[in-house]
Symmetry: C2
Subunit: 228 residues, 2 copies
DNA sequence: GTCACTCTATGACTCTTAGTCAGTATACGC
DNA sequence: GCGTATACTGACTAAGAGTCATAGAGTGAC
């Protein structure tokens, strides 16, 4: 990942050409990387993380297996990069839903955010599956720490939008709990809890209520409950 | 698992002795099975599902690897049986907490149930880790369908206690939502959502609130919110 | 043009581990 | 004691993650 720039160290003449070549190389590397990531996305989304082998990815990307490892340290790291894509999409959706340049009241804003979160998971079930698969600690050991840090950063980016909405709700008196981060945590935990529960077939069977209905009820219950 | 009882078909004389031997065999088999399960519990709890090999379990149980497979079809099935143990404990705890022979009001009963759920996960973090690890679909394919069914049954057993408490709360006017299963689902999803969120180190970092505090707030918010 | 050098790509190889099975041992009924 | 059933075993197979020695293409200097 830390690309060598050794050619830059060659003595200074015809520097322009040198830079041109180097940057083309860089572009080509990025392209290859994207090819592998695209191939991985395809097969992971189709058959799930565990059913896919690194050879499958290599074949789909039309490269050798060794090449895959030239760009990604482990299978888990590839997954982590797809997760980052998913998080980017999610945060973008939340940004739009919360849209602080619009003059909505807090209730509307919280509702829009909640619905955006639900829609994201309904429209991107594959990303959701990846995020859930990623969730368990097993990966922590196998992925690049830098990537792990990235996941953290994106996630924080997401909850900050939620927190802003909560603060607005406090100002408007809709939410009476003091600590905004805690209120945001309750909202996130509650809504996410519904998704977690109903995304597992076994648990969905136990709860025996459809996602939209339970999620809607949860949204109301949380907003109403946070208002004491 | 479906033990052959062929010796029983032998002609009837000295039937008492025959049964005695057969039942001793049965007991010995059960004992061996328990040994393996105990060994698996030990190593899984210590090092986690993925870090443990079936050979590790065999060594810990002081049997050959083949013997392990004589009693359990797959590594995942062993895990599933430990999960069943955990669920049994949990349901027992909930039973005590909800204790319908005591004359508690609905609010007290719901609170006690919520706290019992929290305490279970705090006192049995290993069982919790297993339950969460089990959660993802990967296992579904690898475990015995009968065991999977058992997990479902136990879980249903657990939520039924919650549902009874919800119904009482409806009678007492504490909860105004019509569908008791939906209200129970909201409670479960919400409380479990907090556990899920805070049991993942990355997410715990994001939420930046301690478990007891967030869980307590969630309990209040849910009960209050379900009362409209 | 061509030589030296660097960067990229590769797939055969290693290593680990889940799951199998042919062979062995023990216990039992007769 | 003998034949059979049952329990046990660990060497073996299969599969897949990750490595590395080798090949080859591209580049700049002359």
């Amino acid at each position: 990942m830390t690309r060598g720039v050794s050619c830059m160290t060659q003595s200074g003449n015809s520097n322009g050409q040198l830079r041109g070549t180097a940057s083309r190389r860089e572009r080509e590397r990025a392209q290859r990387r994207d090819d592998i990531l695209r191939a991985a996305r395809e097969v992971f989304f189709q058959r799930g993380f565990h059913a896919v082998t690194v050879d499958d990815i290599a074949v789909a990307a039309e490269v050798g297996k060794g090449t895959v490892y030239l760009y990604f340290n482990t299978k888990e790291t590839i997954l982590a990069h797809l997760l980052l894509e998913g998080l980017d999409r999610l945060v973008a959706d939340l940004k739009i839903a919360y849209a602080f340049d619009e003059a909505w009241d807090a209730h509307t804003r919280l509702h829009r955010g909640a619905i955006a979160y639900l829609k994201f998971f309904q429209n991107n079930p594959e990303y959701y599956r990846l995020i859930m698969a990623f969730d368990r600690g097993q990966f922590q050991a196998a992925i690049d720490p830098a990537v792990y840090q990235e996941v953290l950063t994106r996630s924080l980016d997401g909850i900050e939008w939620l927190e802003r909405a909560v603060k607005q709700a406090q100002v408007e008196g809709l939410i009476t709990i003091e600590n905004p981060r805690e209120a945001a945590g309750v909202l996130w935990a509650g809504l996410n809890g519904v998704l977690v529960l109903l995304s597992h077939p076994l648990r969905a069977e136990i709860v025996a209520t459809d996602l939209d209905s339970l999620y809607g009820t949860m949204t109301e219950v949380l907003i109403s409950g946070l208002g004491k």
